[in-house]
């Protein structure tokens, strides 16, 4: 604590980034190496390629067993020789399963899965940083990655080997295996999650019997994330896999899938860290709507229900998603939701945060949306008029005012008569609203008097006056607003890989696989 910057002297609240810069320390965690007894020193075995083919299988097994030894990577000086031997062996194993044919004999499966489970399945360590913020903080990296990476690589090669037989493997790669694999998606290490994503995608493709189970477990992970912990590092990766799974759903959609959309994907929008996975989430939602347009109305109503109230950054993301949906919406569906939707949009264009207003006003640059608006101008103009008219005079930001003028002009051209009517009745309408408000106040005043004249009740209901808990946690992540909204639309092309079928046509699975790969 020797160097204290001038700004810290002046005010104690230094910025988070500055504090972080002071402790430039690579944090690494691992709970893999646990109370095992001290590792036995490994001795190198002969190279597989040098062994006669009759002994290769036996040697392969020995090497797999050798790789079950775990080492302490916190201590960078112990067991250096053995660590190196294991690393070299793993490399050799990776090479062996990816280049050779006929090495995956039935007896090798249990040995292989045993080696994998021993190495990768573990309880993830507590986060080094109790209030880890994935958007700001550096993740804690897995200390034993030099070995673990190779084990993941090996698992992937194993699954991709042309001789790989799911019918044999399903005895080992079972529900329990998948369950443990899914838990690892909470890893803070992005490298690990990237491997897991590819691996789970392969397993989903190859093991038909596990598909329903995998979907259900992902369901549970998301529900827990939304309603219980608000913390799970692998949401984006799981959504990416789901994006390709949804793409392959057979029509008509099963009730289970629709329920997933409405009860899991839509509520996911309430998450505090939405920015981390919004692109993938919006992609999944749009996939569903492209499959089945009749879902449009419930989806948009769902989004309106969870519309952010205080977090402008999230509001911009929601608007981005709405535009994506409008891009693929059918005109008949549009008619069903235009009223509630444009009521929200009219609030957005009047938002004092200029990025929100701007994002909403950009809708008028979209040709397709414009055509939908024109078709329904009689309904939409009355909803939008008041907000637009008001902010054209009041908004603090000149860019917004300019945009609003353009929008008003466009709308006027669409229906000039209606526009004139609305302009002339604007004042009268405002006054009518004011009067209504007064009437409401009157009503409540009368009701309150009634309440006061009844002391028994007042006492009985004293609880009712307690401040209601703030249920708005989801939306109060009101930090920096300098986001570039193109980010939210920038979807990962890889995620578009299709798993082309639901359970029904297993064979076409192989076709779309190759693009989703770990680096």
């Amino acid at each position: 604590m020797s160097a204290i910057s001038a700004s810290e002297k002046v005010d104690g609240f230094t910025r988070k980034s500055m504090r972080k810069a002071q402790k430039q320390r690579k944090s690494q965690g691992s709970s893999q190496y646990r109370t095992h007894s001290t590792p036995v020193e490994l001795s190198p075995l002969p190279q597989l390629k040098d062994a006669p083919s009759t002994e290769q299988q036996e040697l392969f097994t020995q090497k797999l067993q050798q790789c079950c030894m775990l080492f302490d990577f916190f201590d960078s000086v112990t067991d250096l020789k053995s660590k190196e031997i294991k690393r070299a062996t793993l490399n050799e194993l990776v090479d062996y399963v990816s280049t050779n044919r006929g090495v995956l004999v039935e007896s090798a499966y249990p040995e292989i899965t045993n080696m994998i489970t021993t190495n990768i399945f573990r309880t993830l360590p507590p986060s080094e940083n109790p209030d880890f913020d994935p958007e700001e903080d550096e993740p804690t990296l897995e200390a034993s990655w030099p070995h673990m990476q190779l084990v993941y690589e090996f698992l992937l090669r194993f699954l991709e080997n042309p001789d790989f037989q799911p019918s044999i493997a399903k005895r080992y790669i079972d529900q329990k295996f998948v369950q443990q694999l899914l838990e690892l998606f909470d890893s803070e290490d992005p490298r690990e999650r990237d491997f897991l994503k590819t691996i789970l995608h392969r397993i989903y493709g190859k093991f038909l019997g596990l598909r329903a189970f995998i979907r259900k477990q992902i369901n549970n992970i998301f529900l827990r994330f939304i309603y219980e912990t608000e913390h799970f590092n692998g949401v984006a990766e799981l959504l990416e896999i789901l994006g390709s799974i949804i793409n392959g759903f057979a029509l008509p959609l099963k009730a289970e899938h629709k329920q997933f959309l409405m009860k899991v994907l839509i509520p996911l929008h309430t998450a505090k860290g939405l920015a981390l996975f919004h692109a993938q989430l919006a992609y999944c939602v749009v996939q569903f709507l492209e499959k089945d347009p009749t879902l449009t109305e419930p989806v948009i109503r769902g989004l309106l229900k969870f519309w952010p109230k205080t977090c402008s950054q999230k509001e911009v993301m929601f608007l981005g998603e709405i535009e994506e949906i409008l891009d693929v919406i059918e005109p008949t569906q549009f008619k069903k939701i235009q009223e509630p939707l444009f009521k929200q949009i009219s609030k957005c264009v009047a938002n004092p945060h200029f990025q929100v207003a701007e994002r909403a006003l950009y809708f008028w640059n979209n040709e397709y949306i414009l055509s939908l608006i024109e078709e329904n101008i009689d309904k939409i103009l009355p909803i939008m008029f008041c907000s637009l008219y008001r902010i054209s005079k009041e908004h603090w930001n000149p860019t917004i005012v300019a945009l609003v003028y353009n929008v008003l002009k466009t709308l006027m051209e669409m229906n000039c008569t209606l526009f004139d009517e609305l302009t002339s009745s604007y004042k009268a309408d405002r006054q009518r609203e004011k009067k209504k408000e007064q009437e409401r106040d009157e009503l409540w005043k009368k009701l309150d008097e009634l309440r006061l004249s009844n002391p028994a009740l007042v006492q009985n209901n004293s609880h009712g006056l307690l401040r209601v808990q703030n249920n708005n946690n989801n939306n109060n992540n009101n930090s920096s607003n300098n986001i570039n909204n193109s980010d939210t639309q920038d979807r990962d092309v890889d995620s578009a890989v299709a798993i082309t079928t639901d359970e029904k046509e297993p064979d076409s699975m192989a076709a779309g696989e190759s693009t989703l790969s770990a680096k």
């Binding site: 002046v10 005010d11 360590p125 609880h463 209601v468």
Partner: protein, 592 residues
């Protein structure tokens, strides 16, 4: 409810319901929060026949509104006509208990639990219990989760056949295939066990407990640890070994650190629940392991419990157990690599001295205290300092003062103002224990230096600290040591320091009060009055505020001849705020 009778026509339900349906969420929320008023306007009859059906049918709204509704309905018994009609409230609450948002659901369950008490035993079986069953066998996990919280409230008051059904439902939910439901069941297991007959605790609860404690998900297993406390309390001592201990031992060595953390966190409760014999044989080694756990989180949780655990050990061989089993682990934790572990330990370690007595403290604990006072992490040092009173009772603080002083000085000058703030808060305590001489000699300068800290929060705390010191050491001490230094600051070139003078005067006057009118009139008042000519408006209006505080202590002569002219001058100041506060002072002191 008579008041409402004649007024029905005045408040047609349509108007009220319009309010509940208003487009604006905020208005809807306001209306729902006044639901009781609406119900009152409608009268009990129409509340039952019109309002409640409406609410039940239209439950699709923002969670915020639903939360308010769920809470309101819990207090609605009188508004529907008293306990005999309370079951009318069940339909809307049942719907609320199935929504996704946890906060809403929990509130609905809370209200259901509340009104369950208002049901007659018959109504409970006819209306309430069927609702619990419906929830328990709902399709979506939310209703099943809610059901878990309702079993225990109806169980004690229903017939034995219904009891059997309830037990069966609970059993089913404990093995639900959704982890959310199993978690809900596990978290209510202890509560449910408490209302069950002992035989069923042994036959039903234990097997559920064992199953949940070995669930595949650690989030379920850790909740079983909590239940363990209640269950162990219910069982007779001789059954604990066979029914509970195997599971508890397993939990203490669980492969997931979260479960071990939970065991550490609940250790004192567990210890009390299982009794002294099992504690000696099982919990002592388990506790040692937790103190040596590989995860810092677990060690910190265990370290937090060191004092409580030792306190609750059976007295006959408490000292021996601590000295041979616990203290060696504690010694290691003092130099732990993780600062949270060390600071957790530092917050309780001083408490051991009362348990171990003077000699052991001097020989074994003192070196540890001293080591922690020199720890690199300020929080550790602070925690030691904040608990000095425990040691003071046993060996007297003098033993520590040599090491204490450098630690205090270092903390007092820490670069982080929050650390400085924390140490200031302990100053009055330290002053009390170290005595006035030691204080004047070593610490007084520090206290004065804080008054000119560059962070306002520190200056404010330092001012407050002065007040407490004056309370402790008396007005005479204040006059000799504090007042001259404070008044000296009135001429400081920095206006913030000049203001600090005023703030200090405010508090000193407050504690010296009337008997020391002399100091106030002779020494402090002239300084304050002089400052009314300050060129900074902030200082001037603080003069007005100070005068308002000093005024009551002064005699009327001083008030009229000295204070009044100055305040009048300030009341015509060019600055708005100065004027305002001057006028306020004039009216409070009644000088107008």
């Amino acid at each position: 409810m008579a008041g409402a009778d004649g007024d029905d026509s005045l408040y047609p339900i349509a108007v009220l319901i319009d309010e509940l349906r208003n487009e604006d969420v905020q208005l809807r929320l306001n209306s729902i929060k006044k639901l009781s008023t609406i119900a009152l306007a409608l009268g009990v009859e129409r509340t039952r026949t019109e309002l409640l059906p409406f609410l039940t049918d239209t439950i699709y709204d923002e969670d915020e509104v639903l939360l308010a509704l769920a809470e309101q309905l819990g207090n609605f018994t009188m508004l529907v006509g008293g306990p005999e009609y309370v079951h009318c409230l069940l339909p809307p609450l049942e719907s609320l208990a199935t929504v996704e948002e946890t906060v809403v659901r929990d509130k609905a369950v809370e209200s259901l639990r509340k009104i369950s008490q208002e049901h007659s035993p018959v109504d409970l079986e006819v209306h309430f219990e069927p609702l619990v069953k419906r929830l328990a066998s709902g399709d979506w996990f939310t209703s099943r989760t809610s059901a878990c919280g309702l079993f225990s409230v109806c169980y004690p008051r229903v017939s034995s056949t219904v009891k059997a059904e309830i037990r069966q439902h609970f059993r089913t939910l404990c093995s639900d295939d959704t982890p959310m439901v199993r978690r809900a069941a596990a978290s209510k297991l202890g509560e449910f066990a408490k209302v069950l007959e002992l035989d069923y605790v042994k036959s039903d609860i234990i097997s559920l407990f064992t199953a949940l404690a070995s669930d595949e998900q650690d989030s379920v297993r850790l909740l079983a640890v909590e239940a363990c406390v209640s269950i162990a309390t219910l069982l007779p001592q001789e059954d604990l070994e066979t029914l509970v201990m195997p599971t508890l031992r397993q939990a203490a060595e669980d492969k997931s650190w979260r479960v071990r953390y939970m065991v550490a966190d609940k250790f004192s409760e567990l210890q009390k629940a299982v009794g002294p014999e099992i504690t000696k044989n099982d919990l002592v080694p388990a506790f040692q392991n937790l103190l040596k756990d590989c995860e810092a989180e677990v060690r910190a949780a265990a370290a937090n419990k060191v004092k409580e655990f030792c306190e609750n050990l059976p007295e006959d061989n408490r000292e021996q157990i601590i000295m041979t089993h616990i203290l060696p682990c504690v010694k290691e934790l003092v130099s732990d690599t993780n600062q949270h572990v060390k600071s957790a330990l530092a917050s309780v370690i001083m408490g051991l001295s009362t348990i171990l007595g003077k000699d052991n403290t001097i020989e074994h604990l003192l070196p540890l205290f001293l080591a922690q006072l020199k720890d690199e992490c300020p929080e550790v040092r602070l925690n030691i300092i904040s608990n000095l009173d425990c040691v003071n009772e046993v060996i007297g603080i003098r033993q520590l003062s040599q090491s204490l002083l450098p630690a205090i000085v270092e903390l007092a000058e820490d670069a982080k103002w929050r650390v400085r703030l924390a140490i200031i808060e302990y100053m009055p305590l330290l002053a009390g224990q170290l005595g006035v001489e030691f204080f004047d000699e070593k610490l007084n300068t520090l206290c004065m230096a804080w008054l000119i800290d560059h962070v306002y929060a520190i200056r404010e705390a330092a001012t407050c600290n002065l007040m407490k010191l004056v309370e402790k050491f008396g007005a005479e001490w204040a006059q000799n040591t504090i007042v001259p230094k404070v008044l000296g600051m009135a001429n400081d070139p920095n206006y913030l320091h000049r203001m600090t003078t005023l703030f200090c005067i405010n508090v000193i006057v407050h504690c010296c009060g009337y008997p020391y009118r002399e100091i106030t009139t002779k020494q402090m008042l002239p300084v304050v009055l002089k400052m009314s000519n300050d060129q900074v408006a902030n200082v001037r209006f603080n003069v007005a505020k100070s005068l308002q505080k000093i005024g009551p202590v002064l005699d009327s002569n001083a008030l009229q001849t000295e204070v009044k002219p100055v305040l009048e001058k300030l009341a015509s100041d060019t600055d708005m705020d100065v004027k305002y506060f001057a006028q306020e002072a004039i009216s409070v002191l009644a000088l107008a």
